[in-house]
């Protein structure tokens, strides 16, 4: 029991470090090789946990080897395009200039139903509005609509739009984030005034308060503190 506990702690620490070194991609964005490595690592790491008769080294060595290979390959593929194509494959253009490229559909073994599912996932229900659709190497579909079908941008409509910047949290669950407050150019006095304007005595009564670059405030009081 104690052995399992200690081994789990060690393997957990190793996996956290490994995943941290490997990068921040989400599971759905993994390249095929990254998915294979993630599956292999989890499988290898679990073996000494399931059987205490298996030395921990039998889990550590494969995990470290896979980690090193993954880091090395991902580094090399960034520098070498040919190696990247060899290992990660290349994107497939499924719709080109509004025409479905049937040969690519066959090559990628993607059915029309699956293509429609992916398009609907991109809020596209009419395939005739699509100029280009590209199946990326991570399995995601990138869709480019005809200019006439794409949502108009303020620039296209010659409108001037204020940039509010990124809203920054200054109070989170009753806790004042002083660094964020200063980052936005405010201080505790300003915060006290804002709270008073909202008839709130303490920051501890606030669930969330954010402020953006234009000084716009989002304020949510904690439930039960009306």
């Amino acid at each position: 029991m104690g052995i399992s506990f200690m081994r789990t702690i060690i393997i957990f620490a190793l996996l956290v470090i490994s995943m941290r070194i490997m990068g921040k991609r989400q599971l759905g964005e993994l390249e095929p090789i990254e998915l294979a490595v993630a599956v292999l690592i989890s499988n290898m790491a679990s073996q000494p946990l399931q059987d205490i008769g298996t030395p921990l080294a039998y889990g550590l060595v494969p995990v470290l080897t896979l980690l090193a290979c993954q880091v090395l390959i991902s580094g090399l593929t960034v520098k070498n395009l040919r190696l990247r194509r060899l290992i990660c494959g290349k994107s497939s253009i499924l719709i080109h200039d509004g025409q479905i490229v049937q040969s690519e559909m066959k090559k990628t073994r993607l059915s029309l139903e699956e293509l429609f599912v992916e398009l609907r996932g991109k809020d596209v229900t009419d395939i005739s509005t699509v100029k280009h659709a590209i199946l990326e190497t991570n399995g995601k579909l990138s869709v480019l609509l005809y200019p006439a079908e794409a949502p108009a941008t303020p620039k296209q409509m010659s409108l001037t739009v204020d940039d509010p910047g990124l809203p920054v949290t200054v109070i989170s669950d009753g806790r004042v984030l002083s660094d964020n407050l200063r980052l936005m150019g405010y201080n505790e006095k300003w915060l006290g005034n804002q709270l008073a304007l909202r008839k709130t005595a303490n920051a501890s009564d606030v669930y969330l308060m954010t402020v953006d670059g234009l000084g716009r405030i989002y304020f949510a009081r904690k439930e039960g503190n009306a």
Binding site: P55, A68, V71, L72
Partner: protein
């Protein structure tokens, strides 16, 4: 580039440790095979006291290497070999020449297999 250098160094370290482990295991099993060979000769000569001494020495040496072997070998393999040693001693104490000789041979085979499995050869890898 730092990460790639770290990866190359890590791979080199792991390969180095694997080679070192194969060498260390070969040394341990080689010594035990030598002792077992001497034990078998004593069994064939019906020199039971010497055969028992050789087998006990081998068992003692195997036990002393437990801290290392438990890190690099499956515990089932370690237990199987320990059982082999005790079975051999049992045959020697009961002075069953044919069975003892066979048991010594079996132990040597197990030791050879244990060593060869860790060596980086196509047969071990595939």
């Amino acid at each position: 580039m730092k990460k790639e250098t770290f990866a190359v160094l890590l791979l080199a370290l792991l390969l180095g440790l694997s080679i070192l482990n194969a060498w260390a295991l070969d040394k341990i099993t080689g010594r035990l095979i030598g002792t077992m060979d001497a034990c078998r000769s004593s069994i064939d000569a019906e020199n039971w006291d010497d055969a028992a001494k050789q087998a006990e020495t081998a068992l003692d040496y195997w036990g002393k290497k437990g801290a290392y072997t438990h890190i690099v070998l499956r515990h089932s393999e370690i237990d199987a070999l320990t059982e082999n040693f005790y079975r051999l001693l049992e045959r020697i104490y009961s002075r069953d020449g044919a069975a003892a000789s066979c048991e010594a041979r079996l132990t040597m085979e197990a030791l050879e297999s244990m060593s060869s499995i860790e060596k980086l050869r196509p047969g071990s890898i595939f």
